[in-house]
């Protein structure tokens, strides 16, 4: 063992220097950008674990919360369910978001996420909350192509009207992405199909653009153009 002591000593020095170095670096970079820890509810949504939402909003979580701030469990749940991240997104927006190419995967995710929408709204999530760009959960679902989630949001009272800071609406986003079912849903709810974005484009213009850009989704875009 004695023969190793010098090397172990050097190893410990290197370890200490490394740790000190990363600690200083960490403090410096943290002072540059205040990072917000990921909401465990968002992690649960991504992982598809609904019990994670229950843990964040349930009795145990409330018992550990500051009672001065949250006089009632309902207030705690409502505040918690609408907690925004640094881009203003609420957990419900994360429920309504997916960025997948494979239609089968999107379909499977869509089915699973419906229960999340129900759970979140039951616990006070704002259906018409807006992120920093002005997107609502329904706009996220429209872009993501989560048909069942969008349907559930509309059923529960989410508004299809309203635009983001560029003038995009749930309808223009759905038309742009070739989400035929969501376009049908929104038109069925009577949203304004003549509404134009700041760049002067209407939903039909986005569908026409999509048709030329994504020939593999021609059927969807043609169907949307027919609806509009």
């Amino acid at each position: 063992m004695k023969q190793y002591s010098a090397v172990i000593k050097d190893g410990l020095i290197l370890l200490a220097v490394s740790t000190l170095f990363v600690t200083v670096c960490g403090q410096f970079f943290k002072s540059l950008k205040k990072s917000v820890a990921t909401d465990p509810m968002v992690t649960s949504v991504i992982q598809g674990k609904i019990q994670g939402l229950d843990a964040a909003l349930g009795d145990k979580a409330y018992s550990e919360a500051d009672k001065k701030e949250f006089a009632t469990k309902e207030l705690f749940q409502k505040t918690r369910a609408n907690k925004q991240d640094e881009f203003g997104r609420t957990p419900l927006m994360w429920v309504a978001y997916a960025n997948l190419l494979d239609a089968k995967e999107v379909g499977e995710l869509d089915k699973k996420r419906v229960a999340f929408v129900e759970f979140m709204t039951k616990n006070g999530a704002d259906l018409n909350a807006r992120d920093k760009d002005g997107w609502t959960p329904l706009m996220w679902a429209s872009w993501s192509g989560l048909n069942l989630v969008a349907t559930k949001l509309v059923e529960l009272g989410a508004s299809g009207e309203g635009a983001d800071r560029q003038g995009n609406t749930a309808l223009t986003l759905a038309a742009q992405k070739g989400q035929t079912e969501i376009v049908k849903l929104l038109l069925g709810k009577g949203v304004d199909k003549a509404f134009a974005t700041k760049s002067g484009k209407k939903a039909a213009d986005f569908a026409r653009e999509g048709l030329s850009q994504y020939p593999d989704k021609a059927a969807q875009y043609q169907a949307i153009m027919g609806l509009l």
Partner: protein
């Protein structure tokens, strides 16, 4: 080209007489690389998706991991020489087995801060394990090859490393993620890595470490412990050539860090500007594939040129690769065959990977050569081992910076905002790459500007050679 390929493989004939141990080391290397690259391909995604770290923290922890790997390599290098190949492998492999199994299983049992803390412990264990594996592969290759077949042996070793990296990408990473989705796929990749190390463990068990290919190379292990890392550093840091080397290495950090972006930044960039189920493993397989083809076909041609020029040209090519990703993405919609943003992003990604790999192929092998030229003859090994110092400092900083940049410019959901026109250039992933491009561009420019200082040893060496030649003539 065909002749170059034939010549490359013709060399392998000398390995006919190589021992079983030589091939076992190559098998271990292959499985180790499969496990290593499949893990690093997804490590930032794993930390975010499966563990719950935000982008800043996941980048930071990968940076810290790489810092500890470098720190531990300094420390364990001489320990490996003394305790022997088998024990070193056992220690490294057992640490990696525990870490990978932990990564794979912990998210199923723990949540929140408890999970994060446990994963941090596994990250540190993995860094120590990786630190053991690197030096011991090299030592083993040396021990199980003779002077005659050593260079070919190392060529095979390098080839197998890259083949492992290729398979780890398109086969393992994409295979599991496409099969099980990103969340379960990441965990399955960790379990796969665990299985790889179990196989490595059994291969190690079969090694006879006393089967020296060249018995004259047996050394007194007690003597080896006298070379202590900090002592080595203290003995050379005052030397002018060493300071010159450090200057050179510092200047080239910008470009050399581009390689680390492949694991720190690219996975999140790919899956966010394209789609979550993008074949990121395939993208990460392109680099080692080009390196293999290039090694076989281009190296004999490239080697005819001057080292310093090759370093500058190679670095300039590598740095310029980032320009593709730094330009406004809409510009690429005018490229023939590119009709939409997804195709534009795929175009810039493929262009960056290809151009960078060519640059790397030109400059990377010349680095070692440069160090050997700068170092005094009796201190080449010390200079080589300390050449990692600037990267030791740069890697964690790069980890922190990458985390901040990804969180600000390549966050989850950004593609939706790009599609809808909510992202100006200053908020876009392209802006992030512009920052990296400028940092990388500093390297070739600074090296050209400092050419006189950096090549002083070359001049001195040439003068000495000339004087020696004149002396022998008289």
């Amino acid at each position: 080209m065909l002749t170059a390929a034939k010549n490359y493989f013709a060399e392998f004939k000398v390995l006919k007489t190589a021992s079983r141990e030589f091939w076992l080391i190559n098998i271990i290397t292959f499985f180790d690389m499969m496990a290593y690259f499949s893990t690093v391909n997804i490590i930032t995604l794993y930390l975010t998706t499966n563990v719950g770290f935000n982008d800043v923290d996941s980048g930071a922890w990968v940076g810290i991991y790489s810092l500890y790997v470098t720190a531990f390599i300094f420390g364990v290098g001489s320990v490996c020489d003394v305790i022997g190949i088998k024990k070193s492998y056992y220690i490294g492999i057992v640490l990696l087995i525990i870490a990978r199994l932990g990564f794979g299983l912990a998210p199923g049992f723990l949540t929140g801060d408890a999970l994060k803390n446990v994963v941090i412990v596994f990250i540190l264990m993995m860094s120590l394990g990786v630190a053991f594996m690197g030096p011991i592969h090299n030592t083993a290759m040396r021990r199980f090859t003779t002077k005659e077949n050593r260079s070919t042996g190392f060529n095979v070793y390098y080839l197998i490393m890259n083949v492992g990296a290729i398979f780890a990408g398109f086969a393992v990473t994409d295979g599991f993620r496409n099969w099980l989705g990103d969340v379960k796929g990441n965990l399955a990749i960790m379990i796969f890595a665990f299985v790889m190390y179990v196989i490595c463990f059994f291969c190690t068990w079969l090694i006879n470490e006393n089967n020296y290919a060249d018995p004259t190379e047996r050394t007194d292990t007690k003597e080896l412990l006298k070379t202590r890392p900090i002592q080595v550093f203290l003995s050379v840091w005052k030397e002018k050539p060493f300071r010159r080397l450090v200057l050179f290495l510092m200047l080239t950090i910008g470009v050399r860090l581009v390689f680390t972006h492949q694991f720190l930044v690219m996975p999140k960039y790919y899956t966010r500007v394209l789609y979550g189920d993008f074949d990121l493993g395939l993208a990460n397989s392109i680099n080692p594939f080009i390196i293999i083809v290039g090694l076989i076909l281009l190296i004999p041609i490239i080697n005819k040129f001057d080292t310093f020029k090759l370093i500058v040209v190679g670095m300039a090519v590598s740095a310029s690769s980032l320009l593709f990703m730094a330009l406004p993405i809409q510009w690429f919609l005018s490229v023939p065959g590119v009709h939409n943003l997804s195709q534009a992003y795929k175009f810039v990604i493929f262009a960056q990977i290809t151009v960078f790999a060519f640059g790397e192929l030109i400059f990377s092998p010349r680095f070692t050569e440069y160090i050997a030229v700068v170092a005094p003859k009796d201190k080449v090994a010390s200079y080589m081992s300390l050449a990692a110092l600037p990267m030791f400092i740069a890697k964690p900083i790069n980890g922190f910076v990458s985390g901040i940049l990804v969180a600000g410019f390549s966050y989850e959901g950004i593609r939706a905002k790009i599609d809808s026109g909510n992202i100006a250039y200053g908020d876009s992933p392209e802006y992030m790459w512009a920052v990296y491009f400028l940092a990388a561009l500093v390297s070739p420019i600074a090296v050209i500007a400092m050419k006189r200082v950096l090549t002083a040893s070359h001049v001195e060496k040439k003068a000495a050679d000339l004087a020696a030649a004149e002396l022998s003539e008289t």
